[in-house]
Amino acid sequence: MGIGTKSAFSKSLSRRKVLTQAAGVGAGLLMAPSLIRSASAAGDPIRIGFVTPQTGAMATFSTGLDFVLESFRQAIGEGIKVGDAVRPVEILVRDSQSSSSRSAEVAAELITNDNVVLMLASSSSDTVGPVADQCELNGVPCISTDVPWEPYFFGRGGNPETGFDYTYHFFWGVDQIIQTFTSLWSKIETNKVVGALWSNDTDGVAISNPEHGFPPRFKAAGYELFDAGLFTPGAADYTAQIAKLKEAKCEILTGVFNPGDFATFWSQAGQQGYHPKIATIAKALLFPASIEAVGERGYGLSTEVWWSPNHPFKSGLSGQSARDFCAAYTDKTKRQWVQPLGFKYALLEVAVDVLKRTKDINDPKSIVEAITATDYQSIVGSVRWQGGPVKNVSLTPLVGGQWSKGNGFPYDLDIVDNAAYPGIATKRPFAPIAW
């Protein structure tokens, strides 16, 4: 409506004219992306969809995405050899906005509008779950990472006997994180009383589950658990919980926090004289920025480490080691490495490895065949779906780390426990927090 009306070419801007023009501009803008798309479709490229949260609560997990994509494009150059021809690869990156609705939408768009042959997804259940669901139903192969595998598999109603047909995942799981945490704690003399707090959100509720989560496993490992309960994300006052933790004499603190919440909690704990010997927190302490928010009180905090420059792995695509890759990142962006960098790159590497081995790239079943046969050395270690806990999951290593005064950057994450993966060297022994 409004388009095609006779507009008076008077000098003053009549409302109608503005509306007409606005409609014209709107229509023009609407067409623009499709024009760009059809222009770039010239060289018959292989299209891969990549859904990851670039905005919203999980945005920090996409830190360095541009660097990863650029490195990847450099590594593959002209394209990849599929059959006899070298074909360019087009990665269509979409922002999930950290929302499961938006993830499903963009995944469906990639499948129906862009006809991707392979889908990639990473970072948080809210992004990976819906994307994988869309792919499973529409018969598009999907590889994902950066979500513990249990929520990925069981959260989607997966049956270990049959598994999924089109969707595959590589990451670590809840058993590994328990093993890592308890192995850390065993290195220091404590009263073995563990105080736990959980954020009341998807991750916190899943992990604090009294049957499938952390609590029964801590007890099984010989620790006494004092559960301080779920707290609302964004809470400003933790006095009640801190008092309880002090009273129960919890020398070990654990739980799941969002980075901002932990900073608040930890400074209040300091002020109110709660001084545990060990604080091993999942999810909140992955990034240097989260430690910076705590300041000097951040020295000695411990967390899970999925990947670091010290992991002895090399990319099978570019030959770059984890250390070189992080150095290149720091060189380019002047920022410190973060854990998701490696996994984002590995996801792209694995995709290329799969496509290179695919017999018929236009047949989803053929791509799935190549996925199941994967035996690939990536920058985050070996990816191999034969012999995983369920047929759709390949496990990657997990070790324990502790933050210390940094060299070059204010804080460094040192690997201090490698019980599960002795191949990953520790930098120093685990130490109690120096109060």
Partner: protein, 339 residues
């Protein structure tokens, strides 16, 4: 078309043309599965579903004066109804959507008993509180996946068609029929006694009451009908999404804020407004969605500009300025303007 003496004033050449246009549109959209690809069908499905929500919210707010910012409660209940029935009974998803909507409509009666005690801003806030209570409750029920939510069983989705193309067509037609039913439901309600009562209440509730209009009953009718339609739409939305979580199902930004945006920029209290608003929203989304935070900022800017310069929305402005009325509705106001 019950009324006879006044109906002549409701119609004009514009309304006749508009009705022909509506008929042509309906034919074009009904035949879309024959000529459109999967991507267009999906876009249209999405459009129809958002449009349904916008029209329902407009019905509730623009006509019954019930300013609810908690319609996500019904979207979420409809979605969870579908997923729960699909997981535990294995019914056809479309049947599940229908059953879930009836149950939600029944549930909305006790909700109304609670909320109708409050007026204006208090009603708005408490409707939001209700939705939040439902969201938090869903987080603590492990049978429906707690806070991590649940996926639609693959078999349930396949019941709509083994091939993606068939499935898209089925969902598209379901969304289209739902929209037609919602639009015609609203249209005929507005032309009925209830519609007259609604206009009276909206203009002056006290006067309407003293003239014998049962205001609470009329509002309840609208509230329950809206709950039914919103739940059905919610079910269909999540039938496409395949996965439901408390945060996505009871999301105020997705199911109420964006809907308010459409209705406000289009024109609250007009039948055509939400349609214009939804078209504009889809244009903006198609153009800007890949720009991250800038997308939300520009939506906000558009809404603010329109609220400042055109508080009645785009269609409200057009109608007031050119006395244009596309659908033969609200004949009393129109007859005044036309004379």
């Amino acid at each position: 078309m019950k009324s006879n003496s006044v109906s002549a004033t409701r119609h004009s050449r514009t309304t006749h043309l508009a009705l022909v246009f509506v008929g042509v549109c309906a034919l074009v959209f009904a035949s879309a599965p024959l000529w459109a690809g999967a991507n267009i069908l999906r876009l249209l499905t999405d459009f129809f579903l958002y449009l349904s929500l916008a029209c329902l919210w407009n019905f509730l707010v623009g006509y019954a004066g019930l300013v609810s910012i908690g319609q996500q409660a019904f979207v979420g209940l409809g979605a969870y109804g579908l997923f729960t029935l699909s997981r535990y009974t294995g019914l056809n998803p479309l049947v599940s959507v229908l059953i879930a909507s009836v149950v939600v409509a029944a549930l909305s009666i006790p909700f109304a008993a609670l909320l109708f005690r409050l007026k204006g801003a208090y009603f708005a806030i408490s409707s939001w509180v209700l939705a939040e209570v439902l969201r938090l409750t869903a987080q603590f029920i492990p049978q429906i996946g707690g806070s991590s939510g649940m996926s639609l069983p693959i078999e349930a989705a396949r019941a709509l068609g083994a091939q993606p193309a068939v499935r898209f067509t089925t969902i598209y037609l379901a969304a289209f029929i739902a929209l037609l039913m919602i639009l015609s439901g609203i249209y005929f309600t507005l032309q009925s006694r209830t519609g007259l009562a609604l206009t009276a209440i909206r203009d002056n509730e006290l006067a309407a009451r003293s003239n014998g209009v049962n205001a609470n009953r009329t509002k309840l009718i609208v509230y329950v009908l809206t709950a039914f339609g919103t739940a059905a739409t919610g079910g269909l939305i999540f039938l496409q999404r395949l996965r439901v979580t408390p945060d996505s199902a009871f999301s105020i930004s997705d199911w109420t804020a964006l809907v308010i945006f459409m209705v406000v920029i289009g024109g609250v209290g007009t039948f055509e407004g939400p349609i214009i608003g939804a078209v504009l929203f889809f244009l903006l989304r198609g153009t800007l969605a890949d720009f991250g935070p800038f997308y939300m900022i520009s939506l906000g800017a558009v809404a603010i500009l329109i609220m400042i310069y055109n508080p009645r929305g785009l269609w409200g402005h057009v109608r007031d300025r050119w006395h244009l009325q596309l659908l033969p509705l609200n004949f009393r106001i129109l007859s005044k303007q036309d004379s």
